[in-house]
Point group: D2
Chain length 152, copies 4
């Protein structure tokens, strides 16, 4: 229970439909694990095709799912007929990304008319263990769909 | 000509060998476009499999190549028998990532014994046009290989 | 109760002594509000001498206390005869900084032998109201005192 | 010569007038060193009142002038009757801040209708020496003055 009141009653289907169009998420193998107003969790299974030089998940794969988790957390609170774009994000990589799967927990920390700020914690899961491996702060812009797709 | 003096005469082969082990780079389709002491350019062709919801390249794909470009720029200056890991990075997404291919220009802006700071500008290329679409600041740690793979 | 076990039994006096040497904190009027292993809160009263163009506290004043709160949170966990330096930080400014006083709540989110990552939430207080106005992620390096004062 | 075309012919006086209202700049001792369309340099003399625990300038003092340099660089390109606010910034501290004075060179790297991205390099000057001690990436929002002072 986040306490956020969505402005679009159809936010869940709108988010799921947009997520399906993100082909990078399918390429990486990411899926939506949880979705509520103000919070979206994405799940990324370990894959030998997504690694850095030592066999851990590449920071870019982790950043990709954290970025989408934050963007969709913002999108759950957006009005009808808007779209969201990441303006910028910063990620701290806290531990090597090893585990059987990873969950990026995106949540809104500051909703806004134009700009929304979100934070995603990424946990690695391995058997019963779970470890915080990264945290990301993102700034997301909410724009009318009619504006086109430019960052304004 | 960056003016940096590499501490490992074999830096080019060391970087190329490490890059080949980054399976995410192969999955995305990224290749090394240029490699010199203190600077590495990575090339990423547009692919419909790497997009966000509007058909532009996903910020995560852009961040992945910028992160590797910066990491390998740092690695060109690292001593023998070390490895590099990104500690954190921050990226500003300046324009939608559309184009036929993208080049992430990673360069060292502050070399260090333990920590190296790099910046990558990412340009989208479309015919004769090239547009700056993103810039990333990264902090990279250089560690002895014998330390293991932990972020210390 | 943070759950962190300090490596220096004298951490409280070591932190307080270092804080007294930070002349910027005295110039701004900041004081230590709370200090425990892994967490330091700094208090900054509103002052007409620390403002931006609209009479709110300048982002730089907010960033200064958040940076010190994070640095000292890291320092509470550092071994004897070490010092800490901020390597980098990123701050999101969430609301205008208005209020009668401000508390920067710095806490360790990832302790490390060399690098510690901290987050500071800054709250504005005005009568009974308190509002989250900023959040900062910081990377801090812990070094032996004998290393000198260089960022290594 | 930045190549930017200002939208407000009076940008120089508008920026200087706003800077005079930033009381933190006077408290720190910062002055405008250069001002043109798309670029603002601020000068900060060393002061024993602005230090961290080792007698170097505190990262917060450096961040304060870099933040204002970037904000005013953005403001030089803003239309009439607008104001600017920093949404977020990230700074890498590259070397200890020692020197007799410091120049924060703020410049626009991506002008926008709503959001402008700037980068500030901070150089320490000591006799004939100058050293890059920090670099900051900032996201700045440009808003109509009638909107009030909220980050929207």
């Amino acid at each position: 229970m986040s306490g956020f009141i969505p402005r679009n009653a159809e936010f869940e289907s709108v988010v799921r439909e947009s997520f399906r169009r993100q082909t990078l998420m399918a390429t990486l193998g990411a899926t939506i694990d949880r979705l509520e107003a103000g919070a979206v969790d994405l799940r990324l299974p370990y894959s030998a095709a997504l690694c850095q030089q030592n066999g851990y998940l590449h920071a870019g794969a982790i950043a990709s799912v954290a970025d989408s988790a934050n963007g969709y957390a913002a999108y759950t609170l957006a009005p009808v007929d808007t779209d969201v774009l990441a303006v910028e994000f910063k990620i701290n990589l806290l531990q090597p990304a090893r585990g059987s799967y990873f969950i990026a927990h995106g949540r809104v920390i500051r909703p806004g008319r134009t700009l929304t700020v979100c934070q995603a914690d990424v946990l690695a899961h391995d058997g019963d263990l779970q470890v915080l491996i990264a945290t990301m702060l993102s700034t997301i812009i909410v724009r009318p769909r009619t504006t086109g797709t430019e960052i304004s």
